[in-house]
Symmetry: C2
Subunit: 462 residues, 2 copies
Amino acid sequence: MTFPDSNVTNFISKRARARAIDPAFNSVGFGKAHDKGVAPINLGYGMPDQSFFPIKSLQVNLQDSSFEVPRETANRQEIDLKTGLQYASPYGHPSLLKYTREIIERIHSPANDRWDTVITAGGANGIDKCFDLLLDEGDTVLIEEYTFVPILGSVKNIGATVVPLKFDFQSQSGLDIEYLAYVLENWESLYPGKRFPKVLYTIPNGQNPTGFVTDLKSKQKIYDICVQNDIFIIEDDPYGYLELATDKPFDDVEEYLKSLPTSYLSVDKHSRVLRIESFSKVFAPGSRLGFIVAHKDFIEPITNYSVLATGFPSGPSQILINNTITALGGLDGWFKWAIKVRNEYWSRKQAAMKQLLQSSCAKKDQLIVFEPKAGMFISVSLNFPPGSNCLELMSKLSEKTAQHGVTVVPYQTLSPIPDFTKDNCHYVRLTIASAIDHGQLKEAFRRFTSAVEDLFQDLESS
Amino acid sequence: MTFPDSNVTNFISKRARARAIDPAFNSVGFGKAHDKGVAPINLGYGMPDQSFFPIKSLQVNLQDSSFEVPRETANRQEIDLKTGLQYASPYGHPSLLKYTREIIERIHSPANDRWDTVITAGGANGIDKCFDLLLDEGDTVLIEEYTFVPILGSVKNIGATVVPLKFDFQSQSGLDIEYLAYVLENWESLYPGKRFPKVLYTIPNGQNPTGFVTDLKSKQKIYDICVQNDIFIIEDDPYGYLELATDKPFDDVEEYLKSLPTSYLSVDKHSRVLRIESFSKVFAPGSRLGFIVAHKDFIEPITNYSVLATGFPSGPSQILINNTITALGGLDGWFKWAIKVRNEYWSRKQAAMKQLLQSSCAKKDQLIVFEPKAGMFISVSLNFPPGSNCLELMSKLSEKTAQHGVTVVPYQTLSPIPDFTKDNCHYVRLTIASAIDHGQLKEAFRRFTSAVEDLFQDLESS
């Protein structure tokens, strides 16, 4: 431990630190003592009375039940329209915050008690906020060699840069820990003049694109290395709920929760972890809602950024998600819904794996399938002949998949530093999320394997 | 005209210009030619099928009617759940974009045809995006001496600074145009070493806090000065729909639209205007939705910022607003609703004005009321005895209002440069938006005038 656990504020970026909200405005006549016991009437803050809202009530029809969102309710675990359509806290609505804290407590039992949560306007917004919190111009972020590349926008925007780490593709276990240690030990010679990394950005569970899950033992090792080097871990985990490693459908909530991939929070004795969750996969991407788990002293600086950039997260989105959780009977009902989603992903994964493994290109060893342990992506490694030009063959594969009527993602488009991966780019990402049913899913994977066979036939005959 | 109208891209900030989205990722296997006429199945983009969304349908009960949001619809002016809960365009949903373009066309008839609109995550988000688009570190923004100070967060975040302009408090007509010209003509001597302004940020209609409306003739003058000086105008107009100058309730849509305060767009021959609208006042603040009107070449750079910061605006918010407009019968029905909101604000304004003007402190000339021409704020100028310490007396007034049970906003808390306004800070902002009914509104204004009388009594007896 190179700095006291309790003091993380030294690591806040200069930009975020300079961003204290003007206390004069924040007061705006509020918070002043009111004598005489007269309840004050507000002529201060320009908050329209609820009679100005056109919507009287909402009825939400879920797949198996329905609920009403009334103008007003006394139930503190519901957000009524009076509250949900009004100006609101940049931290998020209290009831939803309560749920997010309980989710983290129950699934991940964080290794310290200095954490809190804050609602975000979705996963991408959570990532941008974490980078903003920690990174200054010239800072360096360690990043997986293949990853969710849109995050580069946030890093570049700050004027920071990324340095890629390697996966252990052999064991399919996630980050190559030896390579991580090697990079840090040899930083000066590998990256002369570049600032030593301040942050590791990782998608540890059902990684995009690999589908790898870093197990707890490996997380502990990576964590220890990061702590020794004063590196914060930004854990982006939108896919964890889509656990795929257990070989059956779930029914029991406790059993499901125990099966879920772990979080770095579980080993975070020293408050070096920021966890980003999203409601996109279990609820719906259009909701643009998620949350960050971080040291409690990070929450206000994160929120000060919200205030200037977005105000606060969408009320209708918070209403729909919070009240759906409540209508389902609280978190147990919510997890039951998550199980339903997970079971469908698992069953799609089974069907797609079968289709892939029974294909003649698998039998001819033209491809190796990475069976995902979580998430929505199956990856395939193509066994191109030794000495072939990887980029060129991947480009040919793209033509073939187009001809066969299937869209896929070549790994190289997910490479933050294309030059780093160009000789190891013989991978394709295939999502099981998007097909409208199992029939279409199987047909899509059939088309993909036909495209691969077609390509290898061309290679053999040329 | 000092630069060609058609080329505004030179004025995009360095940060925004560097932010092109990685074309490799954007392609992700899409957009490739598909031979054989086979409709491609998506194994590329990780977009969950709609069967993963827990909500089957929504019923929205408006004040006088109701409508359903189904899973799927063929009506292109409705956003169904399949679309609205899915990943979506950072530009906003096409149907809502269409409405925003029609709103602008119909009300403001822009003076050029190079404009377009883009949906934002609310007014604050729109402001942040416009500043991000135009400002680099060290740039200068002209700003009203009293304004919506949270915007300073965005300016500071970029490393830009603000310089205050003056109001013409005598004529209550908005910005003091002579002072604007004076500042620009004497820039070097008034602000030695400071970069010449690139942007004027103004709330021209129902200004916060003054309630002033800058009329079209004045807008033309201000616009001409800005064009001569290569200054862009960011017009923040959340309050325009709450027109208060016409002395009656409206019923007819055309009459209402003609009465609305004008936009700088109407004189914008040279594409120097960015207009920010919000759905907060006419729909609901919790929706966090609005739009920007700007030169079409500005739209993509604005959107590139969305992609990294928020992804795209909340689907549920877009569903509720877009489908409410459609359910009300399109824009005519929407404007009818706006009239209803406006009429209630107008009637509150009438009631509050009466309460103020009949008070004995008004009769004793202890205060002068600024009757607002639009918006949700009435301002009051206090006639403190000559030579009194303005800040000290305003602080005493705060104590008095607290004692009398009413919260108000002293102008000084809305001053971007408190030192600039400290000797001219004898104003209070009072909102008519927040009271639950006319009874409470009158009681609040009664308490306020009692507090003022109380203060002046103290002054006289001391």
